[in-house]
Subunit: 505 residues, 2 copies
Amino acid sequence: MLIAGTEVFGTGGKVRAIDPSTGDELEPAFGHGGADEVDRACAAAREAFPAYRGLPDAKRAELLERIADRIESLGDALIERAHRETGLPVARLTGERGRTTGQLRLFAEVVREGSWAGVRVDPALPDRKPLPRSDIRQRKIPLGPVAVFGASNFPLAFSVAGGDTAAALAAGCPVVVKGHDAHPGTSELVARAVTGAVADLGLPPGTFSLLFGSGPDLGIRLVTDPRIQAVGFTGSRSGGLAIVAAAQARPQPIPVYAEMSSTNPVFLLPGALAERGAEIADGFVASLTLGSGQFCTNPGLVLAVDGPDLRAFLEAAGAAVAASRATTMLTPNIARSYADGVAALSAHPAVEVLARGAETDLPNACQPALLATDADSFTSDVALQQEVFGACSLVVRCRDAAQVRAVAEGLEGQLTATVHAADGDRAEAAELLPVLELKAGRILFNGWPTGVEVGHAMVHGGPFPATSDSRTTSVGTLAIERFLRPVAYQDVPASLLPSAIADRG
Amino acid sequence: MLIAGTEVFGTGGKVRAIDPSTGDELEPAFGHGGADEVDRACAAAREAFPAYRGLPDAKRAELLERIADRIESLGDALIERAHRETGLPVARLTGERGRTTGQLRLFAEVVREGSWAGVRVDPALPDRKPLPRSDIRQRKIPLGPVAVFGASNFPLAFSVAGGDTAAALAAGCPVVVKGHDAHPGTSELVARAVTGAVADLGLPPGTFSLLFGSGPDLGIRLVTDPRIQAVGFTGSRSGGLAIVAAAQARPQPIPVYAEMSSTNPVFLLPGALAERGAEIADGFVASLTLGSGQFCTNPGLVLAVDGPDLRAFLEAAGAAVAASRATTMLTPNIARSYADGVAALSAHPAVEVLARGAETDLPNACQPALLATDADSFTSDVALQQEVFGACSLVVRCRDAAQVRAVAEGLEGQLTATVHAADGDRAEAAELLPVLELKAGRILFNGWPTGVEVGHAMVHGGPFPATSDSRTTSVGTLAIERFLRPVAYQDVPASLLPSAIADRG
């Protein structure tokens, strides 16, 4: 662990990463921390907070850029370690590193640009009747130390120096990361980069710490530490809900931004199926099997009106799934859960198995699955509506467009909703769109939900249970707002006004 | 009750308002509703939602203005009824009506102006390497039907057509109000104005409903109705926390914006006390006793370094309190709680009673109270840190500036923090300001926290327990964001894009 710049080897249980492609344990062992380490990291973060939030914006931007530089300086060692710990391909990890450093640099731009502070000024109206108006100025300030939980499926972009960390540091919040046990070596390398950047700039060491430990023990301790003021989490629904409950039960409840589960429905409208069903089938299976389907935005649900065009689509998609190669999943646990989830769905009396990927002897492999059911069965059994994390998708055959909409209206909240529509589908798409707006954080047409662009307009969020707080996003620059709150300054003397809301000279 | 434009007399318990200045019951009786009425109102709100949120911005703005017009058309009848039900002076109620209609019209401007939609556009980059970028556009959409709980202390501005209702309607959310039993007649009059405005514009009647009922029964039913998507509440800490707990326990948790309790600390710095102690004393007692102290922002706590200047201040303030007239409180319950709260504090061994207002035989009167204690006693007993709703303030004598800051650092979250500082106090004020930023939603200098300006820069909010969600405000135009969430539109065809994010022709 790295607590406020100091190396600490936890005295709790030891954990080694596992190379999921072989099942072998990797050296070295990492020691789990407990109450003492949480206390040290949180005390250091709280101590660092006033100085860190008081830095000029340019300095915080520089920190983010320095972290990006230092991550790049880790070179191939980082990619190799991440590859061994996660089984993800080197090319994918190289891309993910670019996304991670790009995200840090984008937040640096946001910090420098300044509108994140949400400045609003109502000038004094001394002559107003019946009462004069005071000078009132508003800006946003950081909430305080933030706890970030690394996710297993993006060992760089949603982990130690991922989106949550970048947004919190940008906002002016020190960060305490609970690293994911699936990639401790990767986490340590990145944490050294962050700690090094903090030291390079002479910032308070408590600005950043990395802890390892068990979720129920160290994780819940971290969330309930009174110095922690917000939480960023990406992971399972059960894990997210446990953190939300712990945060709500504190004497002072705090916001939790948990990105949890989503089946990411894809609507195939009749015109699109007729015009380019085979092409859609290719794109669908490529998106479904990308990264063994281990994406929050994996297309796990397909809705369409039954008929010859859908049957042709399913034949093409089924053939592509059957031809797909098994790929290594992130951890033995994830591979087991995937296999169990697919087995349970396949055994459901209302489910038909359309295709499975090739069998394999590789350990921890994902054998893709394409399943189908009918709309009545789907809506009447919530077991069919749960996310299976991995390359598994369930096709729901509907009687007509009205039933497609009815199924859409009954869905839980989602990260994404995708529509494939041709020009002739316009009327149906126009009826569907307002339904989808209430269900998802992102609506996309004629594309695939995997691949979440890091930009200003992105929303990676959505109604519960996709996330615990639909009013925000965990990807894109709007994410900084999660760690801010507004403060109004009324008649504060000019010499004391924070520079963001001071009069320009 | 008025449910989606229809008059309904509840079959539950009957309630009559009480004229607090006489203790007499007022006619007519109002019937409490229950499960059926909640169901009807929520079903109508959900049904109205798609049409209401789909209206052009100009139409929603027109509704808000029409409501304001219709409230004004109620004329003296509204003021008279409110005066009888609350005991608040006619002049105050006339001012509050102006604030209420001004607030509605300000939100109309906000809706027309359009930036509330938070539009962000990342244009497509088809030639980007290695991957092209899609066209991604973001806007904010309304959450859905909102439950609003009327507050007793502002029968117009924080009640049926108060800030929460105005912000929710502006955002595009239908509203179901639970009217406060302390002013049912006032609530009915205002609800008729809203219902009339909805009808005038031909909008779906479910856009607005008013219910009466008991908090634990009808209130909790309303919060847990699956169609309700957010809650606005102003009231007690216990009431707010019960609503938060109910909202969190739903299968789909929803945001609750509860504005609860605050003692609104006032810091009197040495230079200010020396320069203008007597003037500050006058202002303080005027703010303390305004409206019988029944403001969320009532200055219930004063912190200063002990010494001759503080003693002179307390003498002047004590004399002003002793000379103050007893005024009628809003309800018998509030008057009883106030008397009990002051009695408990006065009986505390570490508390000295500096002054009480004149005794009176009037029913439900508030006899102002100025009490004092020392900083060590204050910090060691949370009983001294609780809000007493009404014109009661506790002065905490501190040894030195360091102890003032230490007490400040130990305070719970607050709606406001006030500093009285002279030029010579600059250094001390500069040290205090960052502490106060973390404690309060609004910081004001050389003024008084009562009187919450409705503008763009106002924050009427603050860290827990001042509110249940510090990231927002319940007064001012930023309040609209409470009822919105962002949605991203990726490659959505131009013909389907909502007008807010469509290309301008």
